[in-house]
């Protein structure tokens, strides 16, 4: 009995340390790899506590291995957009300019019920109010309402209405998203000119967003 108690205490410390090592990301929305690690940790930790004939090291080694690999992988994903895309995928648009992209929904295995449920969760009860719907890498669906249905803000009163032309990310961590640039109807020439005006090269940009009108925001990389 005392063995089980001591093992439970040690495993509690190891798992708390492991989750701390994984960082705050783990406590929010889970990415696929993080979900796998979390499920595996809970299962692996249970074995040495339940069965005292199994050495505790058989629980600690796989837990630490999974957590360390997850941290190393997240470090690699931070550096490489290709690996990031491979591991966690990319957000997908399922409603574009009010049109439901049924092929995309089928590809993502999302049913109409999933869509309407996600709408209701965000207090949207009429599909015709939606301008854009995006499935995030976590599986959550975010919506952008059409101009007429967006809540009015102080800035809208001054500007005469809110936008249904949302800005998109076109450079992330020094890498240009050419597909996004094409969708916005902004060419490479516009990008080069804008960057030149802001005295920054592509490699020096941490984040750049732009809308179809060419309104943009640039966040330079910290030195």
């Amino acid at each position: 009995m005392a063995i089980v108690l001591i093992r439970a205490i040690i495993l509690y410390i190891v798992i708390t340390f492991s989750l701390r090592l994984m960082g705050k990301r783990q406590l929010g929305e889970l990415q696929p790899s993080e979900l796998v690690v979390t499920i595996l940790i809970s299962n692996i930790a249970a074995i040495p506590v339940e069965d005292s004939s199994v050495p505790m090291i058989m629980g600690i080694v796989p837990i630490l291995t999974l957590v360390c690999l997850d941290v190393i992988m997240s470090g690699i994903m931070l550096k490489s957009a290709k690996v990031r895309k491979l591991m966690i995928g990319s957000p997908r648009i399922i409603i574009s300019e009010g049109d439901i992209l049924q092929k995309e929904m089928k590809r993502l295995r999302y049913t109409v019920d999933d869509l309407t449920e996600a709408m209701r969760e965000q207090q949207i009860f009429d599909i015709t109010q939606i301008h854009y719907a995006i499935v995030e890498t976590t599986g959550k669906i975010n919506f952008l309402l059409k101009k007429d249905y967006q809540p009015t803000e102080k800035q809208d009163v001054k500007a005469g209405g809110s936008t249904d032309n949302p800005p998109s990310v076109i450079i992330r961590d020094g890498i240009t998203d050419r597909e996004q640039l094409r969708l916005l109807g902004l060419g490479e020439q516009w990008l080069t000119k804008t960057l030149r005006e802001n005295n920054v090269g592509i490699k020096g940009v941490f984040l750049m967003t732009a809308d179809r009108n060419g309104n943009h925001t640039i966040v330079k990389k910290a030195v």
Partner: protein, 125 residues
């Protein structure tokens, strides 16, 4: 960045310890098997004193290795080896012919214990 460095260090230390434990178990298993052969040889020569002494040494060596055995492997398997080695010791003292069977059993169990630690392709799968 600190987290990544800590993770790499933990992973490297764990890998080194795991593979070192495989090597340690291997060398200790060889040592135990040699000792069992020594017991059998002394028994064949009808040297009761020598075979009893070798069996006692075998038991002491296994007992000293017991903690490591429980640390890296299932408790049940370690207990099986303990009981087989205890039989070897008792048959050696009695000069009982069943010592051969007990030695073979102990050797097979030690081999199994060693094999369970080696990360071969089929075992990984």
């Amino acid at each position: 960045m600190n987290r990544i460095i800590i993770s790499i260090v933990i992973l490297a230390v764990m890998s080194a310890c795991c593979f070192a434990s495989v090597g340690y178990v291997n060398s200790f298993s060889d040592k135990l098997c040699d000792k069992i052969n020594e017991v059998e040889k002394a028994f064949e020569e009808h040297d009761k004193e020598k075979s009893s002494k070798a069996a006692e040494e075998l038991q002491n060596e296994w007992n000293s290795f017991m903690d490591m055995a429980i640390f890296v492997n299932d408790l049940g398997h370690a207990l099986e080896i303990t009981s087989s080695i205890a039989e070897v010791y008792s048959f050696a003292q009695e000069q009982n012919e069943e010592l051969y069977a007990a030695c073979d059993r102990a050797q097979a169990q030690i081999e199994m214990f060693r094999n369970m630690q080696s990360p071969t392709f089929w075992k990984i799968l």
